[in-house]
């Protein structure tokens, strides 16, 4: 979508201060928690409303302590199919949701799939690397990812030898990981590929075997030298377009995927990113604290990814489900963590939604709200939740679910239809053998399911 009016750059990146025109309300609290976390539960929303945006952001950036370490059997046993579940469980339970969310962003950026790597230990090593650097330093991340064993297998660096260089990593380093198309030549790739020869995986680490390395001079990106892998990464980082490319990717992730930003809108962010020595936290913080982030340009301008959709529901319902079952369900929705479809990652945006995935989203919403699905059982129970928060009488449940999941951001007609539905559902005669509690709970769960299938709820 092109913007009818250019966005004022000064205003855009100035820190957001609540005002009558842009108040710190439930809508903005929910937006912050959706983008910088996996959505909020009822207490987080209410608590966020009582705080100011700066306090909320400080807490999200700070995060909390990590949980206890897990057994290492997934890597040791090479149980690849458990990787998506392992990651989803972290997303469900983490006290550092922003870090986890960014790790998924970097997973999509440096898209690597166990379908080819076929080594769960390498894959977990890479995911932990992404988590470690998620809010750290991009230059260090790019250096480490270049010799990460999973990446070396994925893009064939481990088989690239002197005299027979493989160009896969050199190409993606420039095209997808750091510069973007149009900022390098085919000759640059061929030269860089020679610098990446001779790297092997020894004891789970990428190491240089000098005997297989092409140590002759290479010329690329305006420089000449007997470059090794590290030098090529540094050459990429030295390019002005590198910061612009990464800032734009993060803009699409945090601000809007439907907005096409003018170069001058991204430039201040890119300059700061570069001048900070590629400090990711500083760049992310600048975006999240901005007027633009809390404006209508950003709110609900992305399509929720399957992970955001499902984890958001479960966290909001204060549930705790089988990660294996959830991973299986998300595969149908088009996202299997650890198994992106190609080196370009998931297309995202509107590509998340089609006839089939929408149906699967509705089915998953039903499974998570009905308590009748064998995979999730009663672990996410909307009826229990409204009772816990004492919003179970009259029209309260509709109001509660709309505030919890959509922060009331729906047309009035939608609210009326849901209220009517709940009233009619309560009037229906339940099967004669149901207990009073079963009869009372069923309409509550049904109306929650309807909220989760609203078009607005598919948007981030």
């Amino acid at each position: 979508m092109n913007n009818p009016q250019p966005i004022d750059v000064q205003w855009a990146w100035a820190p957001y201060q609540p005002s009558a025109k842009a108040p710190w309300d439930l809508r903005r609290v929910g937006h912050l928690y959706r983008r910088a976390a996996f959505g909020a539960n009822w207490d987080e929303l209410q608590s966020g409303l009582r705080k100011n945006p700066q306090q909320c952001l400080d807490e999200l950036l700070q995060g909390g302590p990590d949980g206890p370490d897990w057994p290492e059997s997934i890597g040791k046993g090479n149980v690849g199919p458990q990787i998506p579940a392992w990651w989803l469980k972290r997303c469900l339970e983490t006290r550092n949701p922003l870090r986890e969310k960014l790790a998924i962003f970097w997973h999509n950026h440096f898209a690597t799939s166990d379908a080819k790597v076929n080594n769960a230990g390498y894959m977990l090593g890479m995911i932990k690397l992404l988590q470690r650097h998620a809010l750290g330093n991009f230059a260090e991340l790019l250096q480490e990812i270049s010799l990460d064993p999973a990446m070396m297998v994925w893009l064939d660096t481990n088989t690239s030898k002197k005299g027979m260089p493989n160009e896969n990593y050199a190409r993606e380093l420039m095209e997808l990981f750091s510069l973007g198309i149009g900022h390098y030549t085919e000759q640059d790739i061929r030269e860089a590929a020679r610098a990446f020869t001779g790297y092997e995986i020894k004891n789970g680490r990428g190491l240089l075997n000098a005997a297989q390395h092409d140590d002759t001079a290479k010329s690329l990106l305006g420089k000449t030298g007997r470059f090794k892998a590290e030098d090529i990464v540094n050459l990429c980082l030295d390019q002005k377009c590198c910061a612009e490319y990464i800032a734009l990717r993060l803009f699409r992730f945090f601000i809007s995927e439907s907005l096409t930003p003018e170069p001058q809108l991204i430039q201040p962010l890119a300059d700061e990113f570069r001048n900070s020595g590629y400090n990711i936290r500083q760049l992310v913080e600048r975006m999240l604290r901005s007027n633009l982030f809390f404006s209508d340009h950003a709110i609900r301008t992305r399509v929720k990814s399957p992970v955001d959709y499902a984890v958001g529901i479960i966290r909001a319902l204060e549930g705790n489900v089988s990660a294996l079952a959830l991973a299986g369900a998300l595969e149908g929705l088009g996202q299997r963590l650890g198994y992106p479809p190609s080196v370009k990652g998931w297309d995202g945006g509107q590509a998340w939604l089609n006839g089939q995935t929408l149906l699967f989203r509705q089915n998953l919403a039903l499974a998570l709200s009905s308590t009748e699905d064998d995979r999730f059982k009663s672990r996410t129970d909307p009826a229990r939740l409204v009772r816990k928060h004492r919003h179970d009488s009259g029209e309260q449940p509709v109001q509660f679910y709309l505030q919890l999941f959509l922060q009331d951001d729906v047309p009035a007609g939608t609210r009326e239809r849901l209220t009517d539905y709940l009233a009619k559902a309560r009037q229906q005669t339940p099967p004669v053998y149901w207990t009073a509690e079963q009869s009372a709970d069923h309409p509550l769960r049904a109306v929650c399911h309807l909220v989760l299938t609203l078009p607005e709820f598919q948007l981030d």
Binding site: L92, N320, L324, S378, T435
Partner: protein
Amino acid sequence: MPLCRLALLLGALWPLAALSAEPSDVLRYVPRQADAALIVEQPRQLANALIRFEPLRQLASFAAVQEQLEATSSKRFLSLIGYFEKSLGKPWQELLDVLAGGGACLAIRFEGDDSPALLVLKSTDEAMLHKALDLAKDVARQELDRTEATARFRSVEYRGYTGHQLGPNAFVAACGPVLFLSNRAEAVKAGIDLYINGAHESLAGRGHAAAARKMLPAQPAAWIFGNTARLHEMPDAQQAYRYPKGDVGQLAVFQGLTDVLGKSPFIAIGTYLSDTGMQTAVRMPAGRDATPDGLALHLPAEGQQATLPLLEPQGVLFSMSFFLDLGKLWSERERLLVESTRKEIEGADQRLGRFLGGRKLAELLTSIGTHHRLVVVHQAKAGYSQQPDQIQPAVAFISDLRSPDYAAGMNAVLRSAALVVGAQAKLKYKEEAIGDVKLVTYRFPENGELPGDAGNARFNLSPCFAKVGNQFFMASTVELGRELVSMLQQPEQPTGQSTTQMRVYAAGGATLLSALEDQLLTQTILDRASTVDDAKREAARFVEWIRSLGLLQIEVDYGRTEFHIDIRMKK
């Protein structure tokens, strides 16, 4: 789905019924065209046995099972049972007596995805059965209304009885004290025909069901009658039954079972439950007589003992002892094998010499004995200073030799094989003297890496072999090999009547699971959404539950005209 709920209700009532002094005649109402039937003659006794069965009682205390019992569908089911109890004025145990006290049977005719199935319940109180059916229909109607389904009950008259149809695949009718429920109208009609006409065309009247029931030990908790007539008509089955045969592997492994199945008009399977144990008996009315004279690889001469005692090294998970006369495969090849297969074997005899250390295949087949044993053992630690990422069980195969002199021949065969494998994996050869026995061992070097073995799985293996008396064995680890040398030096004689006996040891399985604790924990954490601490507690309980299961023993016996498999789970 209302239909499902109706089926659920009736299905739930089926396994729970009354003690009856007389054997059930429920098979009188099952059409003889059925291919298989599951019969519960005394449903209440089965229900009581399941409730008292200790392993199930323990299992019910696990969080995963508790959660299932607390699930909405389970709660609604219990509400449904409660509603029936209240409406019919009896607790469920008594309802079981009344509604299915005459027996219950689920019969099926295999016709692909839409196979017709028929559930028959025989009540001891006709009025109560009809009342229960009316109640079930009311509940189903309410479910249909609640879910705004378009399907409605439709009454269907047949020979003076009123049946009820719900949608295209649900039919139910009550005739006197007998209830029929099926996915096909024809099946219910056939049941009504039997009710009116008598049992002549039923499984009880025309089939072999009575003979099958007689072959089983008394008072099964549930039993299955399998009609093999249609199986025998299938071209693939006829091919498998015929001599000479084309598949050597199938002949060596399944000859006995295939021959018996080919001659048996039915198969009977019964299950028996006590408070702490369980037994399953499989019976067929053919035995040694099913295999042509002199061609049985799987049978010793009549009256001879068939198997050596099971070996039980430390940490045993599985032990098997069986009779197999591979020598006959060579000496009787003209009668046993089709020409093309025979020629392949004769060609192999000529060609394989250099891979068999200069020995002939015929010599190998006719020199190894007829008593074989297999053991799988959990070993807590691999015999290397470096440990594999995942401990794998050790395996050994033990066979007797017709002539102890052939040990030299086996030695040559195995050394040739080791030479081929060892050259690629750089295996180190070593001989170890244990008393008079020479244990030949191979080990992987511990320095360096082996391409493709990132998890160091090779350190689970230190293959070895040895001759002990007239026994020869190959083991996957030296540690197991040493233990076998010691065990095989004890005198032993064939003792078993069974041609195959096996044991699965829960204690060994529990120890193996303990060694695989990390995998168990990860699976629990991911599947149950547990914390690490909760997963540890649950996994430890699960291991102890496995250990408490005792052992599973399987014995295969060929009588002159009967075939038996007995599977016993006991403490």
